[in-house]
Every structure is written in structure tokens, then in C-alpha cells.
Symmetry: C2
Subunit: 340 residues, 2 copies
């Protein structure tokens, strides 16, 4: 069977990643014993995947070799099978190449349905609220932010896959929530639809001045997904005893490790007796079921939404990737691949 | 009475602070009712005092105005008095100008003796082990480092006023202690005299390579007094779950706040799920008696030493200041002012 895949044609040097990717046609043989073929239905584009292309993964693996496919989370349907646990028609999820038809032995893939028992949870939930983004929001906030009733929490990339969930969870636990997002449209959506208390549009507004207006008593918690100038601005407005939770640094993922922009104002941590903590979500694998259960309860109760930003067509995957790197997505960035 | 004082003649632009100070002669009137005159016997030179001259204090006060005297901790003897609580002969300590004779109403000064009851504690202890350096070491380590038995802790400016005490306290609580100091002589002194497990001489050794040798399983706790490149080197060698305690940043005190060198490798906090915490010692004022009690017990038991590096002569105060800014001191940097 002919399949198509997006490979790394050149090492990306900036956020215009599409120029570094190439579409290849490959032959995929039918499944041998213990194998099956899947047809990909959804892929996720996320900023940390770009870091993997530029400088390697958070756990120290080198960058994706030139010529290898982009790898990310996806959902697929089994279309041919010689594996008893993955009959034809099974929806599976896990990490696999950006390829429309894939042969697998089932390693690193799991059926979708068992984690979607309650009503109201969409098939795509493993790519966002029940996957890495939702679990990063859950464990990042509950284990590292020490957010108290009435605290003011600022969330960057607030309308992104992680940020939108952090915003809602923080509201549910009684915090004042202020988001930072790219545009006024998304800022209005965050306040009007997700119900947060204020939002700053960084493309058109003075972030420092607007944060001072929205957080007059200082920032108790900062959930950081971007790094760069935004991190420095927030550091200068921390309340005494503040906690900065480092989740992502999407503004820096196009740089080699030695060229990152460190926070010039890191010594505000001394002046404000504050804490900056990083977390690595895969340290929590054994607790993922617990996190998924809590998140599922909130979704089923109608208290938590996980917005999806869907681009159609496998051929548009690089454009979707650039969309998320430019911060134009609202919610998780998905690529939907129609049946051919 | 004629007195002499060191004033800020120009805003310092580098660590050669002596060029920015000038010696003035001033008249000091005799004490009025409720006042007394002291003759200064010891002054302390410390790196954070330099930050106050360049960019202001940690609690947000502006830099010392041009023409005003340098201010720091000192010890003095009452030589004339019209104040019932400060009779002639009393040794007092507190924060006062770099001036050899000072008139005071007693505000911000306390008699030395009440905090020196046990044997074995020197008159100068309020300037180091029972003052800011000792209390920073005590509360920084006990409240913010979460140092466990067997942890490897790295201490920068390990032979300085704070560092030398942190090194000893960490040894007493069962840690492996590795110091970073300027010279091989001081490194040998740290290992041979203070009994720590290893020391790196940054002027002549490759700090990153030596730390990898001395901390093969990574660094569990970093007690940072310098910032700059050293902080970045240590961040790249953290163990999983490490704690970085920010106490000082002596390499950066010659810079305006917007020009500090932030840690390029701050995202190691994510990769290693590590924590960076600052603390501000004056938040612990109500607990200073508790800290002094514990430190005094250790001194009296012969378990804790607080080395003094003494320069003689009020006229040599700027040279002593430069000595500490260049990291040439071993222990607290004192200026001893002889009776005239």
C-alpha cells in the first residue's frame, strides 16, 4: 500500500517549519503476524515537537535525524490486522510518525475506547484533555503551583491546549485568572467563553502595563508556557511568596540550548522570596490514570471544556504546525485526515 | 569632634569601587539629650553593599545618593553619652555609615553583649555568624534547601562569609559538600580546615569538568552566592528533583537590573523537575533569635567556625571592599579601626 509521510528535510532554523519538511511517498507492506495497519485520522501539532526537531527532546534525546518523519501524538483506525488485541475498526492512540498509513506491532499504542467510558468525552480527548496537555495542566497546577483560594494566577498561551485547561482548573479552585494570549479576539474568548477574569493580547497591548492593571496586588502564581520577554515581565510583578511554574518555553524552541534567553530578572525570586519550579510530565506516568479520572469527571459534569482547533487534510499538517508555533491556534491544534 | 567618612563620590561602573569613593572630614557635635557618640571599631565589607551603590537595595530602595556615606554593618564603642541605655564603654552593633565617629540616638543600634552570653563567641560575631551572613546561611539552608542526608550540595563563594557557614552546616547535617572558590589555596583550606568533601578553584580550573568529577551523580542542592556563568554551569549538572537556593549574585552586582545575566539554562529546571528559590533574610527578623541560638550552640560546642579576614585601618576600607568584590577574602571581610 502507498503511504505518505512528512519528513525532516532540513534542520529548521526558525519558526517557519514548513520550509524544512518534505512530503514523501513510501510503500507500506501488509501486516505480518502480530502486526496491523492503521489509517491516521487525527494528528496533533504542538510547540514541544518543534523543539525536538531543533535541539532534541526534554529527556535528552538528540534532534530527529534528517530524513526521518516528524513524530507526534495521533489517533488512527485499524484497517488491516493480524494482531488479536487490535481488530479492524479499533481506534488507537499513541505516538507515531506523521504518516497517513502506518504498520505497527502495537507497541506504544493503546485502544482509545477504554479511557473514554463516560459520556461527553470526545474521541480526540487523548490528544488534549486526557493526553499530554490536560495532564500537564492537571499535575502542573495541582502539584507545583500551590495555588490558594483567591490567588491571582497568570497563564501564558492561555488559549492554547495546556493554557485553556489551566485557566479553567484555576477558576474552579477559586483563583483570579488572567490569561496572556496573542490577539484581542482570543482574549475576549477567554473572558467571555472560559470565564476567566482578564486577558492580555500581547500582539497589540503593552503586556507589562496591562498586567499591572489586571493584577494590582501582584501575581501569586505564573504558569509559564512561553519563556522569553513574557517571563521577565511577569517576574517583575510577582507578589511576595509567588510560585512560577515552568511548563513550556514556546518562544525559545527555535534556539540551540546555549542560545536561550534566560530570565534577566531571575533575582526577583530573591526580592519576593519566590519559587520557580519545573516539572516533567512523564515523571507522573504512574499517576496518569488518577489525573485522567479527575479531568473526566469535570468534563462529564460540564465544568471543563477542551477547545479544538482543527485543520483539515494531511497535506496541511506543516501549515497547522506553523499555526501553533505562531500562536494562532485556539485550543489544541489538530490535523484531521479524511478517509480516502 | 573631627570625624572621617567614606562617601560615594561617583556612581560605580565596575568592581573597582575604590575609585568611586572619597574620604571626607566632617564635624560631629557632642551628644544632645538622648544621644551618644560612638567610635567605630569594626566595619564589614560585603558584596550586597556594592549592589546598593550601583542599583539600590533588595527591598527596592534607590541607590545611595552621590555624596552620602557608604552604609553597612559595624561595631562601635560608646565614647560620650547622654543616653541612659548606652553608657560610655558599651559595645554596640547595627547598620551605620562608614565613619569613624558617629552621633546616634540609639535607633537601629543594639548593645553587643546580650547576644554574646556563651563562651567562645567573639565580639565581632554580630558581623558574621550571628549577623546577616550567619542567619542567611542558617535560614537559607534550613528553610529553602530541603537538604537530605547524603545529598550532594554545591556552594559558591564557599570561603566567603555566608558560604563558609553553609559549608559547615551542610556537613553537620550529613551532606556531601563541594565548594566553589577563587583560588586553589582557598579550595585546599575548605577541604583541609573546614572538612568539606571537595572544592573547585574557578580561577585556574575548569569548573564544569571539576564539578562533573566531584558530583558524578549530579547536584542535589546548589546554594548560589554568585549567579552568572557559575549558575548556568551548575544548572546543567542538577540531579532530578534538585533545589537551587538563590542567596546572592555577586558576579552581577555591578549591573543595572535590566542588564543582569539571566540563566540561559533555566529550562534545566523542567528537564530535572527542579526548583529554584529565592529568600530575603529580613523576612525572618522575628526568627533571628531562634537562628542565633542554634548557631551559638554550634559555636560553643566547637562544631562551627566563622573565619574572619581582617584589614587594618579606616583608610583601607575601600581596598577591603574591592578585596571582597574580587573574591580574595577568606571568611567575612572586616575592617578593624584602631583607637586613635
Amino acid at each position: 500500500m502507498k503511504a505518505h509521510r512528512w519528513v525532516v528535510a532540513a534542520r529548521p532554523t526558525g519558526f517557519d517549519v514548513a520550509a524544512s519538511l518534505a512530503l514523501e511517498e513510501v510503500d507500506v507492506a501488509g501486516p505480518g503476524p502480530g502486526e496491523f495497519l492503521v489509517r491516521t485520522t487525527y494528528l496533533r501539532a504542538a510547540a514541544p515537537m518543534f523543539k525536538v526537531l531543533v535541539s532534541g527532546s526534554a529527556d535528552g534525546r538528540p534532534p530527529t535525524p534528517i530524513g526521518d518523519p516528524v513524530v507526534g501524538a495521533g489517533i488512527a483506525t485499524v484497517v488491516e490486522s493480524d494482531h488479536p488485541d487490535f481488530p479492524v475498526g479499533t481506534d488507537v492512540t499513541g505516538s507515531f510518525p506523521w504518516q497517513d498509513v502506518v504498520r505497527s506491532n502495537g507497541r506504544s499504542l493503546v485502544p482509545v475506547q477504554p479511557i473514554l467510558l463516560p459520556h461527553g468525552v470526545p474521541l480526540t480527548a487523548p490528544l488534549h484533555v486526557l493526553g499530554g496537555p490536560g495532564l500537564s495542566a492537571w499535575f502542573g497546577l495541582t502539584e507545583f503551583a500551590d495555588a490558594k483560594l483567591g490567588d491571582t494566577i497568570v497563564v501564558s498561551t492561555a488559549a492554547g491546549a495546556v493554557g485553556a485547561i489551566v485557566c479553567q482548573l484555576a477558576k474552579l479552585q477559586g483563583c483570579r485568572v488572567v490569561g496572556i494570549t496573542s490577539s484581542r479576539d482570543k482574549a475576549d474568548w477567554l473572558v467571555g467563553e472560559l470565564g476567566i477574569d482578564g486577558a492580555v493580547a500581547y500582539r497589540t497591548e503593552d503586556v507589562a502595563a496591562r498586567l499591572r492593571e489586571l493584577c494590582p496586588d501582584g501575581i501569586d502564581v505564573y504558569f509559564d508556557n512561553v519563556g522569553g520577554d513574557t517571563l521577565d515581565i511577569v517576574l517583575q510583578q510577582l507578589a511576595v511568596g509567588a510560585r512560577v511554574v515552568l511548563c513550556g518555553a514556546s518562544s525559545q524552541y527555535d534556539r540551540g540550548a546555549a542560545d536561550w534567553q534566560g530570565p534577566t530578572h531571575y533575582f526577583e525570586l530573591v526580592y519576593k522570596q519566590a519559587t520557580m519550579r519545573g516539572f516533567y510530565i512523564f515523571n507522573f506516568v504512574s499517576r496518569f490514570p488518577e489525573g485522567r479520572l479527575r479531568l473526566t469527571e469535570l468534563i462529564s459534569a460540564g465544568k471543563l471544556r477542551s477547545p479544538e482547533d482543527v485543520v483539515d487534510g494531511f497535506e496541511n499538517a506543516p501549515a497547522a504546525f506553523e499555526r501553533v508555533l505562531a500562536g494562532r491556534n485556539l485550543g489544541v491544534q489538530l490535523i484531521r485526515i479524511g478517509q480516502q
